[in-house]
Amino acid sequence: MTFVFILIIIAIVAVVAFIGMYNRLIRYIEAVNNNLKQIDIQLDRRFKVFQSLIEVVKKYMNYEQTTLKDVVKLRNQAQTASKQGDQQAKIDAENQISSIAKGINVVFENYPDLKASQNALQLQEEIVNTENKLAFAKQAYNDSIERYNADKKSFVQAFVVSCFKDKLDKTFVYWNLPEETIKEREDYTVKL
């Protein structure tokens, strides 16, 4: 009698633990999904901010029209890739927009009058802010993937995942730079 009773208790504890692990994994997966959308929000914000920035910059100098076109083109590339579900192509396109942002900052360096003005300080703050937010959104995304992967591959959780493979077993790509870009960035030195 007591033996059956103990068995029942063990079974209840096991079921509760199982449900807990299942729910936690679901929570982690949704956190990853949400954080990915947060990156999209920041990318969208950056696109809009930079478009208006370029408009302002154009007033000060005949900044090449091509930059704006480049941004629009890359943006479209990113969106098509996103629709097709090609995460890597999307990441590549967005990374190229980042390099254009650096170009705008360099332009400021060449015009001391512009740089000294309050407007330029505000623009620079805007660029730093935009890029920081994007970087932190990517960081949060990667962190959530790390948390999910670590939990998924843990000892008991791995068993839970194997029971509900289609619901719990997701593969997320960490936000990263392609190999050749990493090499390029690594070799980069400041030329004055």
Partner: protein, 356 residues
Amino acid sequence: MSTSFRASAVDWREQLRKNSIRTRWVIGIFLLIYVAIGVLLDVYLYSMGWVQLVAQGGVITPPTPSQALMDIVTFQVVPWATLVMLAVAVISIIVTFKMYDRLMLLGTEYVEATPESDSLELKQLYNVVEEMKVAAGLRYIPKVYLIKADYMNAFASGYSEKSAMIAITEGLLKKLNRAELQAVMAHELSHIRHGDIKVTLAASVLSNLMLMAIDILFYNVIFGGGNRRGVARDSNVLLIVIMVVRFALPLVTVLLMLYISRKREYMADAGAVELLRDNEPLVNALLKIHHDHEGHAEAYAAAYNATPHDSVRREAYIYDPVKMGIEAATSPSDWFSTHPGLKKRLAALGYKGVID
């Protein structure tokens, strides 16, 4: 201390859960203390025969204190003082959670930073907070206030992510660079994320609320009553009562402060490093704040003491001026600090022996 938090530094979710429980305890103990005081008052009034005097208009033989207690506990008589104290306690709790932002900023001059702020500094402050919000994955951006004061300090408050606020002084904003400001904001956002703000708010405002009310009364008696004649003797008596209460009430504080986590500053420091992936900006910011306080010790002591109701912010400050011997301890609650020393915090951040 510096060794005990190491294993749990990453696990802020556990801290969040504990803080929710602690908040309930703080509110429960607060109610209990007030009801206990009320019952004592009732027993006193009843056993002295004053209640009967008011009720029946004649003197009857009053019961013994133990008989009085029995009558009150079994509701043979209406425990008026208890009901009044209970009402005061409930109103205090409602006021604390409704008006926490004004209470926490009480006695200071402040402006709110928004994306529409005119000055670049305010805008930058707001931007930095927003960046840290993105990094921490919070759903809501806290309200950001700038306090017009020269000393360098910052604190966070509120009772949930949604209602949270961060306030920093002008001195801090002016003297830190962007990265250091970011580190301080990451520290404050970690307090919000860990749920520290709720406990700190409940404990420090609830224990200080009566004190604040009495202080306001106190300033009125001293500065407001001077132009009328004949109040001098009355206000002397009142003054003595206020002085006694002012030193008796902080005992409540001590009980409530027990529930404020002693690890919270270490956890928030660790949280800031987690968000920034760098410990140097926070260390630099803490050192700058510390050296700045040392360099202007007298001026800042005067500034802190001239700011009314500063004790309510004390447990929430990133840098505790009383602990560091800059601000004078003005009430007994100041003797019971839950702030860790700066030296230990820096050691925990990996910078051992940079200050003595």
